[in-house]
């Protein structure tokens, strides 16, 4: 079991001179906490960028809300009222920052410019390091956004005069947001590993972002898609990045959907881990062969 996990997590192998690290022991996890902390601190140095990003996303989401405001005309679409749609867009920003990762930007560059070597000689699994890094950045974003969103949640509830959220819905939303983050990291991790073979990984990141935005539920609630499209979108991993956490938050899904969503999420996590491991094993040989 230990060996299976070691292989799945894409750890550096013995041939690079470090003993393979088994990250599930408490002592060895401390180093990932250090990575998380340092990235949390460095995110403070880039707070201007974060504020800018929030404003940019706020502008985009406001434009979506404006369009819907003039489209609803007191109707309901697929169980969504205008109020539901506005609340959806308000909270999509929060979920965006909960599941955001920069793995492709970070890792593919390391592979291309040879600084991956630094990662390989450290006694840390690359994937876990990347997860810790992303979590550090995510905690920084959440600290900035949580107070604002708590106020928004209270105001929204007062305006709606009904409980839009419940403790259960918030809990499920957080769980699925975390799952969404891990899926996003794994997707980008797999894309990054393609840098062992190709120069244009940045383009794949663009493709992934375009598809995730549209078919993951950021631009538009997935419920609004035609049934045929929806049946495909419901089994893809992209929906876990935006749509699933939001639907649980806004109580558009209940515990009846929980087992299906958790099972599907688990299947995708394992699938992506296996793909990542295969790509890493094949890619790292290529990397060493060129002596980078």
């Amino acid at each position: 079991m230990q060996k299976l996990f070691t292989n799945l997590l894409g750890c550096p192998f013995d041939k690079v001179g470090t003993s393979a690290i088994i990250p599930h022991t408490p002592i060895s996890m401390i180093k990932y906490w250090a990575v998380l902390k340092i990235n949390f601190l460095s995110a403070f140095a880039k707070k201007g960028d974060f504020i800018g990003q929030v404003l940019i996303n706020f502008i985009q989401i406001s434009s979506f809300i404006l369009i819907w405001k003039y489209s609803f005309n007191n109707r309901t679409f697929q169980g969504y009222t205008l109020q539901d749609t506005i609340v959806y867009y308000v909270f999509v920003l929060f979920i965006t920052y909960a599941t955001l990762t920069t793995t492709v930007d970070y890792l593919s560059k390391s592979i291309k410019n040879g600084s991956l070597s630094e990662w390989l000689i450290k006694p840390r699994a690359i994937l876990f390091t990347e997860i810790a890094r992303s979590l550090g950045e995510m905690f920084f974003r959440m600290i900035q956004l949580l107070p604002i969103y708590l106020i928004i949640a209270i105001i929204t509830t007062i305006i709606a005069q009904t409980a839009i959220f419940s403790f259960q819905s918030v809990l499920f939303a957080l769980i699925f947001a975390l799952i969404g983050l891990f899926i996003n990291i794994l997707l980008e991790y797999c894309l990054s590993l393609l840098a062992f073979w190709m120069d244009e990984v940045w383009s794949l990141k663009h493709f992934k972002d375009i598809f995730a935005d549209l078919f993951g539920g950021k631009r538009i609630p997935l419920a609004f898609f035609p049934p045929v499209a929806l049946s495909v979108l419901n089994i893809l991993p992209l929906r876990f990045i935006f749509s699933v956490p939001l639907e649980y938050l806004l109580q558009k899904k209940s515990t009846a959907n929980l087992s299906f969503d958790l099972t599907l999420a688990f299947i995708w996590l394992i699938t992506l881990l296996i793909i990542a491991n295969i790509l890493f094993k094949k890619g790292i040989r290529k990397y060493a062969a060129f002596g980078n």
Binding site: Q60, I67, Y70, R75, H206, D213
Partner: protein, 272 residues
Amino acid sequence: MLHSVTNTIKRYFKIYLILIKYSILRDLTYWQNFIICVVIEILYQAAFLTFFGVIILQTGNIAGWGVNELIVLLGIDTITSELLTGLIIVNNSRELPAKIWSGELDHVLLRPIHPLFNLMLGRPYFPSIIGALTGFIIIAIGLIRLNYFPGIMSIIGAATVFSSGFLIVFSIVTIFSLLTFFFNDTSTLPRIGERLVYSFSSRPHSIFSGFLKTIFFFILPIVYVSSITSETLRTGIEFQYLISAVILAIIFLFITQLFWKVAIKRYTSAGG
């Protein structure tokens, strides 16, 4: 005076032709990259159109604009956003923070041409410019479905409103980009300008009322470049819009120049 102005325009035009030539040469050097970029641009446009497609599928119209009117608007907005991306944003305004931090701006400031010309127009991005061509196809589809073919005056009027509107959005993007001189620990604040244009230029101007109307018609007049252009093309020239567009374009170019003069004084030229 007129002779000097004409000479200046000729000189900048010649320099711009050389810059275009060199951008093409660079893109041809990395042609695989170029093709991928064209595909990405088409995908972005497809996603954008899909978004509107889903809305229209559910609602049938937006603020009184029917499907065919919206198609014409989206066609014009495709041209707007792709030209803005290709001529001004991708290799130009987005690179400004990096140029300021690295001190690369030094060489730009040493040249005897207006630095903004170099910074905001110096390196066209051709995949977007090619993407803009799809906009004409979308406009044609919309007009055919409307069974309407604009007269020469409508076309001239629309072109005038479009050009003025484009100068306005260029100024808005530039002014926000110049914020980098004031907030130099961030590269994203300048992108607020482009996000404002991308997000709101494609909206029918009839959705803006009250306070929003004041903002998007006068303070950040983004409505002219796509929405009002599309209405001019479909229904003919409305002089109040035409004159407003031209006057606002002149005012915004003037504000941009003033803002540049203030911003450049804060440049510290990094490195040795």
